[in-house]
Symmetry: C2
Subunit: 383 residues, 2 copies
């Protein structure tokens, strides 16, 4: 056990990680109904058995969701033999809620607020989005209702105003669904699309929370030589940064100032860039005079997960927004352990990506730890 | 005077900002020879008198350097009437060293390490780059030599290996030129271009420093609706982040581990994203096994300017790399004051962008302030 994890446990007065009793607000699932749909699809996103080694007949289930992977698939011979870098191996950790519970037990997570993983419904025609959203939200409610308090959820909405508002009202009737996960494309034209205003207003009126999450990447043309590492490390965080900056500069938040927005991955890069963003906006009167406040004012009103992966970044976030707006998260089931990290039975081994997000809390006051680990989440989502 | 600036002056035991005695490592100039070239050009980058209001005959000198502005220019009628958002007003603060000195005196900057501003020589054919680099480096040396110690400089090099190495050897003979400013395109193919290795090795052998600076932007397709604000706030910082990440993942730094690299704008977003970058690389064995260290190891060996614009970001940088690798900078003459901010005589008024970068230092220990304001720069460049 690392010094940092040991210190966290000491502060929390626990001897085992499994007793820490945290609430995870950033944890994904591909629901069985959604998995079935992915298995039937031919284009990205899809799940398919692929021969991943050119010199072996062995096939494995691969989840292919990233926008840049379509070309790899198209380039691959015969449709069943693709580069090993296309997609990622997928197992029960992506859809089996019992595996999720075992992972939670092992890592001291008492409650998970589940969300459908990217790319949600973005790739479906509006009509299919609408019917699928209702079914998935009902699935999610049923899972949560049968979980003895272990699961709550963010729902999903279709990408058009009237249908989305109708689904928000449906979600508001589901006792365990406390908000929605939203991609940065909004209704397909970004979060600053004026058509989104009525959506934000309805979310706000219903007391729901938007969990904003990236999928498409920004700067993707630069990442090809380095697997998925730069796409995920940089493309995702840039995407959140761009989308939220556009939303702020659109001025729409002045019309819905109490909107509850939770930003994935500690806000991308926004806590670091907030000062520069303020300065650049202040030096462009055509932009700044349309806003009631500097960009950082809006940023300080959002919520952020603590998925920062190192202490300087988490401390930057705390210094910027205060510790009462930060909630624990894991990004499970992404970034699973390498097999060689521990027990090959994946749910019984330590997930280093999860441990890293506990370790960043080690040097904080116990009150701040408690706020981030569970208290802030309870208040935000009324758990 | 703000509370923060007042506190900084108190820590520094000065009553006036003009007595602070800082060293500015990020301060640009368009040398007269370079200005003449820009005035003769028809394509971006150029300087030209443009009619900036459709309803007025008034023309003003505009500096047009950003890659996305060519289209605006091409779209404009008759070549002399363009959108007011194309380019920026340009005056003596961009080329007149006496104005630079007046700015420095007013803001307590005893010494400036001058660098040519973007886009440097990137747009010229190799042969012109080569001859122009030598002339500009000699110009820079002459200016510094006649400055009674107020000016040192970063030089420029052409974008091809043999010519660049020759110019590095020339620079090493110029007593006041202590390194080079380098764009993120390197020799045109990025910093991870294998052809760059010999260049890095020569920089290292000669004891020079590379000041790495953005120009091209990343994610530019998302910024059009918001003037230059998002391009400069996000595009620039993403660009530095991408280029340095590529350099690290290329593995070349394992072959030149003592290379001195100074990153503009507090490293873009790298101090915040370093943990996530480590995690994403560690989860991609095809990438991580080619490197001797995690990405953050290399990042901790670089130098960074303190142009962070708010305290949480500067503290993140300090927490990440330590206060002995951070140097004061202003980005002058960009982000000039609005006329209404103070005295219309631009060099006599306070530059809020400069003041902001002093204010972020206010709450630090005086020893850390001194290191960032002047001592680290002296050590890095042997001033």
């Amino acid at each position: 056990m690392s010094r940092a994890l040991s210190k966290l446990l000491q502060c929390q007065e626990k001897s085992l990680l499994r007793d820490v009793n945290s609430i995870d607000l950033h944890t994904h699932v591909y629901l069985p109904r959604y998995m079935n749909m992915l298995r039937e699809r031919q284009d990205v996103p899809f799940v398919r058995k692929l021969r991943v080694h050119a010199d072996s007949e062995l096939e494995e289930d691969r989840l292919v969701i990233l926008p840049d992977e379509q070309k790899q698939i198209d380039d691959a011979a015969l449709g069943t033999q693709v580069s090993i870098s296309a997609g990622r191996p997928i197992g029960g950790e992506y859809w089996d809620l019992n595996e999720k519970l075992a992972y939670m037990d092992h890592h001291g997570i008492s409650t998970s607020v589940l969300s459908l993983a990217n790319p949600w419904l973005d790739f479906l025609p509006t009509q299919e989005q609408t019917s699928m959203a209702t079914l998935l939200n009902d699935d999610m409610e049923a899972i949560c209702a049968n979980s003895q308090g272990r699961f709550y959820a963010f729902g999903v909405t279709p990408q058009s105003l009237e249908e989305a508002i109708a689904e928000l009202h449906h979600i508001a009737t589901l006792p365990h669904v406390r908000g929605i996960i939203l991609g940065t494309s909004g209704f397909g034209k970004g979060l600053d699309d004026p058509a989104m205003l009525g959506f934000y207003q309805t979310v706000d009126q219903l007391g729901l929370t938007i969990f904003l999450h990236p999928h498409y990447g920004v700067g993707n043309e630069h990442y090809h030589n380095y697997g998925h590492a730069l796409f995920l490390a940089l493309g995702f965080t840039f995407e959140t940064t761009v989308a939220v900056s556009q939303l702020i500069l659109s001025g729409m938040l002045d019309q819905v100032p109490t909107l509850k927005l939770l930003l994935a991955h500690s806000g991308g890069t926004l806590p670091f860039l907030a000062g520069r963003l303020d300065s650049c906006v202040a030096h462009d009167l055509a932009i700044s005079t349309k806003l009631q406040h500097a960009p950082s004012h809006y940023l300080k009103g959002f919520y952020y997960d603590a998925i920062a992966y190192h202490t300087p970044a988490l401390q930057c976030l705390i210094d910027f927004v205060g510790s009462d707006r930060i909630v624990f998260g894991t990004d499970n089931p992404f970034f699973p352990p390498h097999v060689e990290e521990g027990d090959p039975t994946i749910n019984e081994s330590d997930w280093s990506s999860t441990i890293a997000n506990y370790e960043t809390l080690a040097d904080l006051d116990v009150g701040v730890q408690n706020a981030i680990l569970r208290e802030n989440a309870k208040k935000l989502l009324k758990l």
